[in-house]
Symmetry: C2
Amino acid sequence: MEVRSTAQRDLIRRLFRGNYTHPTADEIYELARRENPTISRGTVYRNLNFLVESGEILRIPSVGGGPDHFDVTTSPHYHAHCRLCGRVSDVPLPYNAWLSALPHGLDFTVETHQLMLFGTCKSCTNKGD
Amino acid sequence: MEVRSTAQRDLIRRLFRGNYTHPTADEIYELARRENPTISRGTVYRNLNFLVESGEILRIPSVGGGPDHFDVTTSPHYHAHCRLCGRVSDVPLPYNAWLSALPHGLDFTVETHQLMLFGTCKSCTNKGD
DNA sequence: AATGGTAATAGGACCCATTACTGATAATCG
DNA sequence: CGATTATCAGTAATGGGTCCTATTACCATT
């Protein structure tokens, strides 16, 4: 299937360049609307899925109902979720670090895994609990 | 606030006794309806929340859109999610095992964490991919 | 430059899991 | 027993996301 370059797709790509804030689909939608007020939510979702498929960005699946986040850093790594501001940040813990600790003889074939820390980020802590 | 004992709450409690299948709210709803056909979804959700609050069961938050699962085993532990049948099983990896590996000087105060393995469970593997 | 084929779009309907609201029912206390 | 009010059944509403339909935009070819 031929892949076309469109203004909307390129806009979304640009919104990610140098953006390490792990935005949600809705945040991307709001940013995109500032430059293209008629862009639709469907287009944002479709292109985020496309960019994840093509390996340009990473999806950080929600844990427990909230929205998914997206990440320009495509090498797999872990994330921390601030339960006060809802923002997601990177955790400099080597991926697969603990997987070697997995017991053998598990009745389960592991393909991937997801680790998420929950707590309070620096800036929320500083603002006073 | 006074806590009352009701048939619906006790029924849901009973459905968990000896049930290590990590059911979803909907699975509990279907089981409950076999004994009490007029029980409502709202009641199931309300009581699952109640039982989680009171520490009688554990909520396993969904990762990536699916429904939450619930667990009679209340001591924290890890889970594996079969992406074929959707069932959740326990992983005998000591909780907090890897947390000691966390780098110090993180700009984040960790309160809890969630680890989920994704892959294929034994019975789905046996059924042939 | 116009054309055909088809990818991608805007906008909205729809889906799923869950929560919130609204009387009605019933468990507990006095 | 009767009053209080937690809990209930039933339904509407919510939030995040997908899917559908008509329309538009891209691009290779004449």
